[in-house]
Point group: C2
Chain length 657, copies 2
C-alpha cells in the first residue's frame, strides 16, 4: 500500500514538526515530503552552520587580518559559501509552495544578502586589481545569514522580541535624553564659568556637547568619580548636583529601561507561545486528518491504537513499550481502543515530557559491559561510593584544601598539591558518574549534594533555594547559546564597522622596549591616560581584538583613546554601541534570567501537575518506577522557558492559553 | 452627654488610625485617648524629627569635624536630645498598656540606645578630661533612633523587607563566593607562574587572596579592563577566562541577586498588606462597636447616618457635603438609613480615595481673591493660555532655544540668552498654574503636554507610555524619602566607622602649590594612582566628605588608596559596604522601581474600578463633575504601592486578600 505508507510518512512529518515546533508550510506532495525530510536531515544543518561559521570567520583572514591570506583565497572560500547558501535556499524553495517562498521576508533577505555580497566582491576585486582604495562593506551583512536561515528560529525570535520592545525603549530613551540635556544645561550654567580644570589641565565643563557626553558616560559609571572631582575640589556643594544626577539617571532611568524591556519581553513571550500552540495544533490536526478512520459507533473520525503506535514508533523510536503504553492510556482516557482528534493533538506535548525510570533504569555501562560492571570489584566500588563515609571523606579533603590555599604559596609542595586536590575532585565526580545513572545524577542528585556537602550543613530551605538557583543557572544554559548568537551578530557588525573606522590607529608592540610602545604607536596618545594605563592592545586592528574590545566596552564604556586618535565624533560609535548592547541586549538578558528564576521559583511552589503524573497516580502504575517527570527542553524552548509547561497546561485546559 | 462625646472621640481615633494605617494599641480610657491624640499631634512629631536630625548632625561638629565645636557644647546638645527622646518615650508609655510597652522590641531598643549613649558620654567625657584616647562608639547607634521611633513605620518595614530577603541572598552569596573562589584558583594556576607584571610593576595574580579581591572588584566593573590587561598583553586566549568570569559572575549572578531580592520583596509585600488590612479592619470594627446602636427591625447592631456623618466630619473636615453624601450612598447601598459593620469597615478606604471635581472646582485663587481673579484682564490671560497658540508659541521658543544651545557658547549674548529661556519656561509654568486648577494640572494635564509638545508629536501609544513612565517616576517619589532614610542609616554607620578607621590618612589641600598636595599629605601615596587622579578629597576626614565618598563607592567601588595608606585588610570594610549597599539596598531600590512600573502598567491596562466609580456610574451622579478618581497616597503607602488598591479591592471582595 504505497498510499498508506505515504500517509504515514506525511503524518510522521507533521507530528515531528509539532513536537519540535518547526513551522514550515511544506508542500504535501510525496516528493516534496521526501525533499522536506532531506531538508531536515541533521547533516545538512551541520553543513550549513559550518559554512556560516566559515563565512563569518573569514574576517580573521581578511585585511585587517589576524592571519593574512591572499585576497584570492578568501574570495574563493566566500564564493564557496555563497554557493552552499544558494543551494540550501534552492532546496528550501523546492520544499514549500512558490507563493509562500516569495512572501517570506527571510528568503528575500537571504537573496538580497547573497546578491549584494556577490556585487561587492566583484567591485572590490576589480578595484583592488586597479589598486584603488575600496571598502568591503558587504561584510557587515554576513551575520544576517545567521538570523535568516530557517534554523535560526530562536535567534529571529530574540530579534523580534527586541523589535517589539523598541518603541517603548525609545520613549524612555527620549525622556532620558531630555533629562540628560537639562542636567547638562544646568551643569554648564553651574560650572562652566568657574575656570575649573580637569585632571589633564583642560577646561572643565565649558562645552555643552562635551558635558552631555561626559554625563552620558557617567550613566555607565565608567568615569565616576573622575568627572565629579574638579567640581568637588572647588566646592562640596556641587556634589549635590552629581548625586541627584546619578540617582535619577543612573539608578532610576536604568531601572526603568530594565522594567520596560522585561515587561515587553514577558508580553511578547505570551503572544509567541500562543502562536506556537496554534501552529502545533494545526500540524497535529493535519496529521490526524491524514490518518483518521471512520469507525462504526463513532460519530467522529477516530485513530486506532495500531496507527498511533506506528506514528509514535516513527517519531520517537527510543522510548520503551511500557512508556508508549502509558502515553496511550493517557490519550485513550476511556479505554475505547481509539482516540479522537482532541486526544491526538496532545501527543506532541506528551512526547516532550520525559519519563525517567529512576530506580529500575540500569546504568548505561551495565548495558554495555554487563559482566564487568556487575563483577565483584565493580560492585564493591558502587557500595563504597554510596556509603556515607565517601561524602565525609571528600568533605575532609575540601577542608584540607582550604587550609592549603591559605598557606604559603611559595612552598612548591603546597602549591603543587592543588593539582592533587583537583585530581581528587575529578576522581570523585568520575566515581559518582560510574555509580549513579547519569541522568538521575545530573537531574537533582549531585547538584544538591555537591553544594551541600561542600559549603555548609544546610537545612531544607537552603537546599530548596540552592536547587532553585542551580536550576535557574541550568535552565538559562541553552538560552545563553541563543544570546551568544545574538551577541555575535551585533558584535560582528560593530567589529567590522569599527575596523574600518579605527584600524591601525592604536598599535600594540609585543616588545616593550620599542620606542613607540609608550604611546601605542600614535603620537596623539603621548601622555594620554589610554597609553599610560597600557590599553594599547585594546584596538580594532583585527577581528579578534575588536571582539575583545567590544566585550570590555560592554562592561565599562571607555573610548576616550579612540576619540583622541580620530575625531571627537567617534564617540557616536561608542554611544551607539552602549545603547544597543547595554541598554537593549544586556537588559533582555537580565530580564531573561529574572524570568527563569521566577518560573523556577513558582513551579517549585505550585508543583507541576501534568496529566501524565495524574495518570500515573490513577493507574498506580509502578510508582516506584516512574518517579521524576521532567520536561525535556526541545530545540525551540530555550528562549521561552514557560512554553512547554504552558503548552501542556493549555492542552489540559482546552483554550486557556 | 460626656459619655457620648468620649465615645465619638474614641471612634474618631480608631477610624483615623485605620485611615492612616497607624497600628498602636492604645489604652481606651478617656485620659489615655486624650494623651494619644496629643501624642499624634503633628507638632510633637516635627519636634521629634527635628531632634533626631540635630542628634545625627552632631557628627558635623564632633571630632573629626567639619566645624569643630568644643566638647561640652556637643555633649550638652546630645544630652538635650536624649532628654527629648526620653520624654517622648515616657509619653508613649503612658498611652499604651505597660505590658504592651515592655513587649515591644522597638521600645527596648530605644531604651538601650539611650542608656548606652549616656554611658558612653560619661566614659568619653571623663577619659577625655584625663587626656586618654577614647572612641565615641555610641555614635554608631544614633541612626537606630530614626528606625525605632513610632513614626519610623516605613523605615522599619524597609528593614524588615531586607531582613526577610537576607537568607535567600545569603545562599546566592555562598554560591557566588564558591564560583569566585574557584575562578580565583583557576586564575592563580593559569597566570600565577608566568611572571607577569601589572601596570604598576608589581607581580600579577600571584597571591590567592589578592586575586579573590581583584575578581570581586571586577564584579563591580570598577577595575575593568585594567585587571585583564596584563594577561591580555601576554596572550589573547587568556581573555576567554575573563569573559567567562564576567558572564557568570558579573551578569548572571548579579541578575540572580536582583531576582532574589525582587522575589522576596514581592512576597513580603503581600504579607505586609495582609497584616495591614487585618489591623485596619480590627480598628474599624472597634470604632463600630463603640458607636453601634440596636434598631428595631434589625437583627444586627447598626450605625445611623447621623453618627456616621459626625465621625466623617471629625476625621476629614475638609471634604464637601456632596462628597460625604456620595460616600454614604456607597456604604448604605440599599438606602436603609443605617449601615452594618461590614459596610462601615470599608469607610477607611473610601476616605483614602480622592474625588477630584475637575471642571466644577474653582481655582484656589478664585476663592481667595474672587474679584481680581474674575476681572477682565485675568479672564483674558486665562483665555490666552488656554488657546492652542500658546502651546505653539512655546514650542517655537524651545526650537529657538535648541538652536541657541548648538551655537557658539563664547558669544555672551547667546550664553546669557539661556537665562531668558529659563525665565520664559518658568513664566509658562506659572501662567498654567494660574489658569488651571493645580491639582488637575499636576494629576495629568501638564505632564503629558509638557513632554508631548516639547519633544515630538507623539501618538496615543506614546502618550500612554509617557504617562506610565512619568507616573512611575511620580509614584516612586515618596518612596525615595524612605529609601533616603534607609541610605542615611546605613551610610551613617559606615561613615562613623570609616572616620574612626581612616581619618586624616588622606588629606586634601585647597592650595595646589602645597608641597604635600601631590600625594594627599601621605607619603605612602607617592606615585599612587589615587593621588595621580586627584582623589585627595575622597576621604573620611569629616562626616560630609565621608558621605560623598560613600556615594562614590556606591557607584564604583574604588578603595585601593585606603588599603595603601592603612593595611590590606581595610578592603574588608569596602567589600562589606559593597555587599550591604549595592547587592542589597540598591537591588531593593531597583526591585521597587520595577514593581512600581509594572503596577502602573497593569493598572493602566485593567482600569481601576473601585466601588466608588461604580456608584458614580450607577447614580449618574454628575459625571461631568466627578471625572478622576485617584488614590491619595496615605503616609504609609509609599513602599507598598499596591496597598491602597489591593485594600480597596479586598474590602470589596470580602476576604480576597
Amino acid at each position: 500500500m504505497p498510499g498508506v505508507f505515504q500517509d504515514f510518512a506525511l503524518a510522521t512529518v507533521f507530528v515531528s514538526d509539532a513536537q519540535y515546533n518547526r513551522n514550515i508550510h511544506f508542500d504535501s506532495s510525496p516528493q516534496a515530503v521526501r525533499l522536506y525530510l532531506l531538508y531536515n536531515h541533521w547533516a545538512f544543518k551541520v553543513l550549513l552552520y559550518f559554512f556560516i561559521m566559515v563565512n563569518l570567520s573569514l574576517a580573521i583572514f581578511e585585511e585587517p587580518a589576524v592571519f593574512l591570506l591572499p585576497l584570492w583565497a578568501t574570495m574563493l572560500v566566500e564564493l564557496l559559501c555563497l554557493i552552499v547558501f544558494t543551494a540550501r535556499l534552492v532546496h528550501y524553495a523546492k520544499v514549500i509552495p512558490p507563493v509562500k517562498f516569495w512572501k517570506d521576508p527571510k528568503n528575500i533577505c537571504i537573496i538580497a544578502v547573497l546578491t549584494l555580497t556577490l556585487v561587492d566582491m566583484i567591485i572590490y576585486g576589480s578595484l583592488e586589481a586597479a589598486k584603488i582604495y575600496c571598502v568591503r562593506w558587504s561584510r557587515v551583512l554576513r551575520p544576517l545569514l545567521l538570523v535568516n536561515v530557517t534554523e535560526g528560529r530562536q535567534l529571529r525570535r530574540a530579534f523580534r522580541s527586541i523589535r517589539n520592545a523598541l518603541p517603548q525603549i525609545f520613549y524612555v530613551f527620549l525622556l532620558f535624553m531630555f533629562s540628560l540635556l537639562v542636567f547638562s544645561l544646568m551643569a554648564l550654567k553651574l560650572l562652566g564659568k568657574r575656570n575649573l580644570k580637569n585632571i589633564e589641565g583642560y577646561p572643565y565643563f565649558t562645552d555643552y556637547l562635551e558635558i552631555v557626553f561626559q554625563l552620558y558616560v557617567l550613566v555607565t559609571t565608567a568615569n565616576s568619580p573622575d568627572v565629579m572631582m574638579p567640581a568637588y575640589n572647588a566646592g562640596s556643594l556641587f556634589t549635590i548636583f552629581f548625586i541627584l544626577y546619578i540617582l535619577i539617571n543612573t539608578y532610576i532611568f536604568m531601572s526603568v529601561f530594565l522594567a520596560v524591556v522585561y515587561n515587553s519581553y514577558k508580553k511578547y513571550l505570551k503572544e509567541e507561545i500562543r502562536q506556537l500552540v496554534r501552529a502545533k495544533r494545526y500540524k497535529m490536526a493535519r496529521a490526524f486528518d491524514v490518518l483518521q478512520e471512520q469507525k462504526e459507533g463513532c460519530s467522529q473520525p477516530v485513530l486506532t491504537q495500531a496507527s498511533w503506535n506506528h506514528i509514535v514508533r516513527q517519531v520517537r523510536p527510543d522510548i520503551t513499550d511500557a512508556h508508549r503504553d502509558l502515553l496511550w492510556s493517557v490519550c485513550d482516557d476511556k479505554n475505547q481502543g481509539v482516540i479522537g482528534k482532541v486526544a491526538f493533538v496532545q501527543l506532541a506535548d506528551l512526547l516532550n515530557i520525559e519519563v525517567i525510570t529512576l530506580k529500575s533504569r540500569p546504568h548505561p555501562l551495565q548495558n554495555l559491559f554487563p559482566t564487568i560492571y556487575l563483577s565483584a570489584p565493580s560492585r564493591l566500588i558502587c557500595r563504597l561510593v554510596q556509603h556515607r563515609g565517601f561524602v565525609i571523606a571528600f568533605d575532609l579533603i575540601i577542608l584540607v584544601n582550604a587550609v592549603f590555599i591559605g598557606l604559603d604559596e611559595e612552598n612548591p609542595l603546597i602549591s603543587n598539591s592543588e593539582w592533587g586536590f583537583l585530581a581528587l575532585y575529578m576522581l570523585e565526580i568520575l566515581l559518582k558518574l560510574y555509580v549513579f545513572e547519569p541522568r538521575s545524577f545530573f537531574s537533582r542528585h549531585i547538584m544538591v549534594t555537591f553544594t551541600n556537602s561542600r559549603v555548609l550543613e544546610i537545612q531544607d530551605l537552603a537546599q530548596n533555594m540552592f536547587r532553585i538557583i542551580i536550576n535557574t543557572l541550568i535552565r538559562i544554559g541553552p538560552a545563553i547559546l541563543t544570546f551568544g548568537q545574538l551577541i555575535v551578530v551585533v558584535y560582528y557588525v560593530f567589529a567590522i564597522v569599527g575596523m574600518e573606522l579605527f584600524k591601525n590607529k592604536v598599535k600594540f608592540f609585543d616588545n616593550s622596549t620599542h620606542p613607540e610602545h609608550a604611546y601605542c604607536g600614535n603620537p596623539l596618545l603621548k601622555g594620554h591616560s589610554f597609553a599610560q594605563l597600557g590599553y594599547c592592545k585594546n584596538n580594532f586592528n583585527n577581528v579578534v581584538s575588536s571582539f575583545i574590545l567590544l566585550v570590555e566596552l560592554t562592561v565599562v564604556n571607555q573610548c576616550d583613546g579612540f576619540a583622541s586618535v580620530t575625531h571627537v565624533s567617534a564617540r557616536i560609535f561608542f554611544v551607539l554601541f552602549h545603547i544597543v548592547v547595554v541598554i537593549v541586549i544586556i537588559n533582555i538578558f537580565v530580564a531573561f534570567v529574572l524570568e527563569a528564576f521566577f518560573v523556577e521559583y513558582s513551579v517549585d511552589k505550585s508543583q507541576l501537575q501534568t496529566s501524565l503524573e495524574k495518570k500515573i497516580e490513577e493507574l498506580e502504575l509502578a510508582v516506584a518506577q516512574y518517579v521524576t517527570l521532567t520536561t525535556e527542553p526541545s530545540q525551540d524552548q530555550d528562549i521561552q522557558v514557560r512554553s512547554s509547561r504552558q503548552e501542556s497546561r493549555s492542552q489540559q485546559g482546552g483554550q486557556t492559553v
